[in-house]
Symmetry: C2
Subunit: 502 residues, 2 copies
C-alpha cells in the first residue's frame, strides 16, 4: 500500500470523545511523515475526514499496512473494516490563536467565538486544546458580551428547531439534585393548561438515573425529530431523550473536559444552558437553581449573579428567561434509580396517599412559574392553577396522553430481588451520604438495569426504632444485589444513626 | 480473579507520557467501581502504584481477567507480563485546587508550587490537567516570585549534581536555531582555558538533529553519572546526553504539553532553564537568546524582559546568569542532520579553510562570554582569548581528549547515497523554507540514520548560474533518498530562485 494509504481496523477501544488513530511506529507513513505519539493526523476516507491523535503501536496489534481507530474516530469517519484511508498532516487549528489570545488577556469577539466553536464541533480540538479553552473561560474571565458571542456560536453550530408558534416553554435545572424528577409533572401540568412544552432531557452520565432514563420506564423516549413534532402537535408537549437530536453539539464535548478538571465556568454554564434551549426552539424558559451547601450553587449571591447572566444572555438571543432559586439542601423523593424514581413521579401524578410531598411541592412550585411565564396564569396565581390542574386529575390524564403519543404508556418494572435493610439500633438519622447511596444503586445495576436501585424509607432527622426498615435494595440479579449490600456493609457511614440529644 | 485484581498485559501502545490503562467495559471491576473512559484509576503492584487514564475496550483485545497498559504505564509501574495488579479509585489530585485558584486570580505560593510539581513528577496529572496548568501559567500571568517558587519546586523534585568546586560553567540556547551547534566548540575552548563545564544536551524531538545526536557521531554520549564525573574530573568538561540523568524530571512533561498547545509561558521557560542548570550543578550560566522574526524570541524588548527574569530567578537560586542576545535571522552552518552538522563542528575546530564562518563566529562570541563569566578572561578580552585558544589548536586538542575520555573519538559516518540537486535556472536565492528542508532531512532518515540529511551549498541572497549545485541529499537507503527527493520535487517553494532585480 503506497501514497500514505493504510487499511482501517476498528480496535474497539473507547477513548471517549477524542478520536485516536493507532499506527505502527515502523509503518512507512510514520517514518515518512515523521508522525509520533501525540501528533495530530488527518485521516481521509472518500469525502469525509477526521483529525485524530496518534498513539503509536510497537507490537503486533496491527499489520504493517493497517491503522486502528478508536470508537470515536470510527464513528466520526464512517468507514468500514479494512477500507483504505489516507493519512496526512492536518493544517494547524487556526482558532487556537484566539484561545491563546484570551489567555494573554484579549477578549473573544463574535468571529473568534464562531471559529472556536466550529472547530470544537468538527473535532479539530485535541483534549489538551479543549482543556486550554476551558481554562481560558474559567470563572468570571468571560464577560457578558463574550458569553453572548459563545452562546450564538454554539446555537449556529448545530440544528435549531422551529415550532412555528409562540410561546414555546422549557425548563432546566442547574446542577441536578438526586431524585429531583419534576420534569414529567411540570410538562403534564403546563400542557394540560394549554401551553406548548417540547421537553428534551438527558440520560445519566455519572448518576444512577437521568430524567430520560426515568421517563423511559414509562414510555419510549428515543424519538426522531419528526416523531417529536407529531407528539407535540397532538398533545402540546413531550418528554424525549435529547441525545437523539443534535442540539448544540459542542456542549457535551466541553462539559466533559470541565468535569474532568472540576473547573466550573459561569460563562460556559450560561452558554451551555441558553444555547440548548434556543436550539430546542424555546421562547420562554424557567431555570431552577437549587441552592445548598453541597449543591452546585452554594450561595444566594452566586445564584443571583448567575441569574442575571442567564437573563441577559437569553435576552440577547431572543429568549425570555425566568430564574427560580429553590431549596438544594437535600435529595428529593424516595427512589434512587430509573424505575424507582418513576414510581415517585407516578404517585404524585396519581395523587396517591403515599406520594412524596417534597417532590409534589417542588413540581407545583416550578409548574406555577411556568404557567405565569407562559401567560396562562396571572402573576401570583400560578400555584393555585397548577395545584388545581394536578388535583383535578387533568395533569395525570394529559401525562397518559403524552405517553400514548410517544408510543404507549407502561408500568415501571419491578426488580426481581428486593432486600430490606433495617436499623441495627434505635436513634436519629444523623447523616446520609448521597455519594455512597448513588454508588450502591449503580452497583445494584442502575441505570442500565432500569429496575435496580434503592428505595429509601427514612429521611434525615427521623426517629427510628431498632429493626425498623431503612431502605430496600432492588436488583435484577442475585450477584448485583449482594455486591451492593456488601458495599454498604463496609461503608457504614452511608446512613448513620445516632443517639438523640436529650 | 476477585477483589479488584486483574492480570496485566503490555499492549505496546505508546500514548507518550500519559499512562493509560485499557480495561474491558464488561469486566467485574469496571461494573463494580463504575469506571468509564477518561476516568482516572489507581493501579497498584506490590509497593508501587501509578495513576492512569482509563480507555475502555469493547472488543476481544483483552481477556475478561486482563487489563492492558500503555508503554508509559508499563515502565512507570515496573510489573511483568501477566502479573496481578489491584485497581481502585484514586484520591482526587489535591494540588489541582491551586491550578483552579490560579485561573481564578490567586498567586502560586511556595507550598502550592511544590505540591503541583510533585504531583506532575509522580504522574498524577492527566494530560488535560497538565494543559490547564500550562494555561494557568501562560504569558505574564506568572510574576517573578511565582517563577522562583516553581523553579525551586522543580529543582527539589529531581536529582541535583554537586561538582564540589566553583565556578561550574554551563550554557543554554533559548529556542534552537537550525544548525546552531556551538556547544562542542564552546566546551572545548572553555575547558582548554581551565574552566569546568559538564554539559548535558538533548536529542532531537521534532528536528532532524539535537546536540546530543550530533555529538554522538563523534563520541559516546550516553554516560552514567559516574562516567560523567570521571570525564569531568579528568578533562574539566564533557558533552553528554542529558536524558540518561534525571534532572528536573517535570520539565519534559510540561514542555510537551506547551508544545502541543503552542502556548509559551515566559515564567515556565525561565523555570525550565534555570531548574535544569541548578540541578546540573552549574554556578554560572550563559544564556544565548537568538532574536529574529522567525525565532522563538522575536523582539529585543521581549529578549530584555526575559533576560531580567532569567537573571533574577537564577540569583534567587544561587546561580549567576549572563544573557547574550544573538542574531536569530537565519540558520547556522551548512549541514542538516547529525553527521552533517558534526562535520561543520569538526571543520571549525580543525580550522579548515572551508569551515562555516557563521558557526565559527557564533561559537567564538559565546565562548568569549563564558570565559569572562568564568573569570578566566577580564571583561572585553574574552574574544581575543577564545580566538587564540581555537586558532592555536588548543581547543581541538582538548575536544579530542574529551571524546577519548567519553569512550573514544570517531569520524562522523558518511551516507551511502548522495545526490546533488542543481539550479534549474540562473538567479538569486530568494527564499529558503527551513521547515520543508527539515522535513526532507527527516524523510531521508535523520536523526535515526545519523548520516542522513541535507548539505547546503548556497545561502540566502547568493547569485547562481543554471546547473550550479544547490544542496546534496544524503541517505542510507535508496528508498529514503528518493522519498526525500520526491518530496522536494513537489515542494518547489523549499528553495526558490528569482530573477535578480536590476
Amino acid at each position: 500500500m503506497n501514497n500514505n494509504f493504510l487499511y482501517l481496523r476498528r480496535l474497539g477501544i473507547d477513548t471517549y470523545q477524542e478520536p485516536v488513530v493507532y499506527m505502527r511506529a515502523d509503518c512507512d507513513i510514520c517514518r515518512a511523515e515523521g508522525f509520533s505519539s501525540q501528533n495530530r493526523v488527518r485521516v481521509s476516507f472518500g469525502e469525509r475526514h477526521i483529525i485524530a491523535t496518534v498513539h503509536m503501536v510497537h507490537s503486533e496489534l496491527l499489520h504493517h499496512d493497517e491503522a486502528g481507530l478508536s470508537e470515536a474516530a470510527w464513528h466520526l469517519l464512517g468507514a468500514g473494516e479494512r477500507e483504505p484511508a489516507h493519512f496526512s498532516h492536518p493544517a494547524p487549528v487556526e482558532s487556537m490563536s484566539f484561545v491563546r489570545g484570551k489567555l494573554y488577556g484579549n477578549r473573544f469577539s463574535q468571529p473568534a467565538a464562531e471559529a472556536i466553536i466550529a472547530d470544537i464541533r468538527d473535532g479539530n480540538y485535541s483534549d489538551i486544546q479543549l482543556a486550554a479553552y476551558v481554562a481560558a473561560c474559567a470563572d468570571q474571565l468571560l464577560d457578558t458580551a463574550e458569553t453572548i458571542a459563545i452562546t450564538r456560536a454554539m446555537v449556529a453550530s448545530g440544528k435549531r428547531f422551529d415550532w412555528g408558534r409562540v410561546p414555546v416553554l422549557d425548563k432546566h435545572c442547574v446542577g441536578g439534585l438526586p431524585g429531583n424528577r419534576t420534569t414529567p409533572v411540570v410538562v403534564a401540568i403546563a400542557t394540560a393548561c394549554g401551553l406548548t412544552m417540547p421537553k428534551t432531557s438527558s440520560r445519566a452520565i455519572t448518576s444512577p438515573a437521568g430524567t430520560a432514563d426515568t421517563m423511559e420506564t414509562l414510555a419510549p423516549v428515543t424519538l426522531s425529530f419528526e416523531q417529536m413534532r407529531r407528539v407535540v402537535e397532538q398533545e402540546g408537549g413531550c418528554i424525549a431523550w435529547g441525545g437523539s437530536v443534535s442540539l448544540s453539539p459542542t456542549d457535551d464535548i466541553v462539559i466533559r473536559v470541565e468535569r474532568a478538571l472540576d473547573l466550573d465556568s459561569e460563562g460556559q454554564l450560561v452558554a451551555s444552558v441558553i444555547s440548548k434551549k434556543v436550539a430546542a426552539g424555546a421562547t420562554h424558559v424557567l431555570i431552577d437553581v437549587p441552592v445548598g451547601p453541597t449543591a452546585k450553587v452554594r450561595q444566594e449571591e452566586m445564584a443571583r449573579r448567575l441569574g442575571v447572566q442567564l437573563v441577559e444572555t437569553g435576552a440577547a438571543l431572543g429568549l425570555r428567561v425566568s430564574v427560580l432559586c429553590t431549596d438544594g439542601t437535600q435529595p428529593v423523593g424516595r427512589g434512587i434509580g430509573p424505575a424507582l424514581e418513576a414510581r415517585d413521579v407516578l404517585r404524585v401524578l396519581r395523587r396517591d396517599a403515599d406520594a412524596p410531598c417534597d417532590l409534589r411541592a417542588r413540581a407545583l412550585t416550578l409548574a406555577a412559574a411556568v404557567l405565569e411565564l407562559g401567560g396562562v396564569a396571572p402573576p401570583g396565581e400560578g400555584l393555585a392553577r397548577a395545584t388545581a390542574t394536578l388535583d383535578s386529575g387533568a395533569a395525570w390524564q394529559k401525562f397518559r396522553a403524552i405517553c400514548a403519543a410517544q408510543g404507549g404508556m407502561r408500568e415501571p418494572p419491578l426488580a426481581r430481588y428486593r432486600h430490606p435493610v433495617v436499623a441495627e439500633r434505635s436513634g436519629v438519622v444523623a447523616h446520609i451520604n448521597m455519594r455512597s447511596l448513588a454508588k450502591a444503586a449503580k452497583l445494584a445495576g442502575a441505570p442500565a438495569d432500569k429496575a435496580a436501585g434503592i428505595e429509601m424509607h427514612v429521611r434525615l432527622g427521623e426517629q427510628l426504632e431498632r429493626g425498623q426498615p431503612l431502605f430496600t435494595m432492588h436488583a435484577d440479579t442475585r450477584g448485583e444485589l449482594h455486591y451492593a449490600l456488601d458495599f454498604l456493609a463496609t461503608h457504614r457511614e452511608t446512613l448513620s444513626i445516632e443517639e438523640p440529644v436529650r
